[in-house]
Amino acid sequence: MAVFEVPVLSIKNLNKQYGPGCSQCKGGESAYLVKNYCQVCGTVYACRDVSFDVFPGEVLGIVGESGSGKSTLMQCLYFDQEVSAGEAYLADYENGMKNLFQESSQQQRYIRNHVMGKVYQNPILGLKMNFSSIGNIAENLIAAGSRDVGMMEGKGTALLNKVNIPVHRRKEAPKNFSGGMQQRVQIAKALSNNPPLLLLDEVTTGLDLSVQASVLDLIKNLQRELNISIVLVSHDLGVIRMLADRTLVMLEGKVIEQGLTDQILEDPQHPYTQQLVHSLL
């Protein structure tokens, strides 16, 4: 059957290793590897041959234990880390014809500013804590070429309003805010240039339950309203169940299983996924 949709983001054979690798662990498959760590040379194979597609308007969940390579993968996608090998294509960049990982750093900056938004688990990585909240958003708008202060002020206010930050606190710095508010400012910032793709890395981890709920509701509503595609990393299966249409399960740097979220939760195939699902309270 002909393919009936074109993916927004296509990742092919992404590899990321920390360390040079040695003759014993070449290619990341060897008896000398403990999990994804080489005992001989100390190389860590953080992502091994990761491939997946993200389709328009969908939420793709990525689950896995700590150290399974989820965050490294997200860092690679946002060019925070350089990949060791692999390809990435965005439909909204050069018609999906150019491998993003081989573009110049200048072009990668352009992609970060125009075609992708990212929200980090740790707000310090995503926000300038001493800038005003609206200034944080303006920073992104300026990076994408805006120079009209009035427009930026208006857009910033609208975005903060959308993520339920009271208008009168828009000039306050995020360092004064609670964790949940900081995450919401980060989300507003990530959305500032209307990216078709949003990367969310453990955005609700460490927030208390009611605040977590408000951030999750916000994400769901934004996704519905803007029909944005989202890659959502979480080790919390509850979050994945609530938001993700499809889910990848990662272990030791590899994608060991993927499927519809209800498939992963109700009919897990891999021993690790079964253990994970059965650990749900």
């Binding site: 059957m1 499809r246 498939q263 009919d267 079964q274």
Partner: protein, 239 residues
């Protein structure tokens, strides 16, 4: 009438790695449904009834056999091999699933739930809002409940909302997974009425029911399941 769904030689085994066990839920099952038919499956709990529905809906992955579905969008498609995205499309537009449990986004009101289902079909908000009120009233859901969270509803109310949400999508194929379990007699009758309405609209349905009494004079045909296989198939005439 054309065949809408044809299951051939379907088997489903659960491999439980951590317990070192295999569970054979369904073996070599075959069913075929013509358009507009209402077919029932009965059997003891644990006999594999729900497994069949979940295989059709794609919640369970299928190792053996095929499920041919006549899709409006894709033509004849084997659900056992459909891609994840194709399955999501079909769930959104063609195949509905109703169980006794309401799976809803937390903190979403009854009204939002139904409205979102309509918007998902590509309708605009205004039309969806109107349609939602019509449907909620039609299902005799107390108006006071429209703007509250379904988590606080009674079993019968949840179920009616569940069916309402499935119905607004006007699915071509509706899978009913014991929709009347744990309901009192009056609520059961209400669900029965709804099913009759769906039949009149020409919705093809495959349903699982515990109580024979409830479905006997409703189904076009009925299968009985025992230990993962059909023991016999009987045909009923619609009353």
């Amino acid at each position: 009438m054309e065949t809408l769904l044809e299951i051939r030689d379907l088997s489903k085994t659960f491999e439980l790695h951590n317990l070192g066990k295999q569970i054979h839920a369904v073996s070599s099952v075959g069913i075929s449904l013509r358009e507009g038919e209402f077919v029932g499956i009965t059997g003891k709990s644990g006999s594999g009834k729900s497994t069949i529905l979940k295989c059709i809906y794609g919640t369970y992955r299928i190792q053996h056999g095929s499920i041919w579905y006549h899709s409006k969008r894709f033509g004849k498609i084997n659900l056992a091999q459909a891609s994840e995205r194709e399955m999501l499309y079909l769930r959104k537009h063609e195949i509905g699933y109703v169980s006794q449990f309401l799976s809803a986004m937390p903190r979403t009101t009854a009204r939002q739930l139904v409205q979102q289902a309509i918007v998902e079909m590509g309708e605009d908000q205004e039309f969806a809002a109107e349609e939602t009120e019509k449907i909620l009233a039609h299902f005799e859901l107390d108006e006071e409940l429209w703007d509250s969270y379904p988590a606080t509803f009674s079993g019968g109310e949840k179920l009616r909302l569940n069916i309402a949400r499935a119905m607004v999508k006007k699915p071509r194929l509706l899978l009913l997974d014991e929709p009347t379990a744990s309901l009192d007699h009056d609520s059961k009758l209400k669900v029965r009425e709804l099913i009759e309405q769906l039949m009149k609209q020409g919705t093809t349905m495959l349903g699982i029911f515990h109580d024979l009494e409830f479905m006997n004079n409703l189904c076009d045909r009925e299968y009985n399941m025992q230990n993962g296989v059909f023991s016999h198939a009987a045909t009923f005439t619609n009353s």
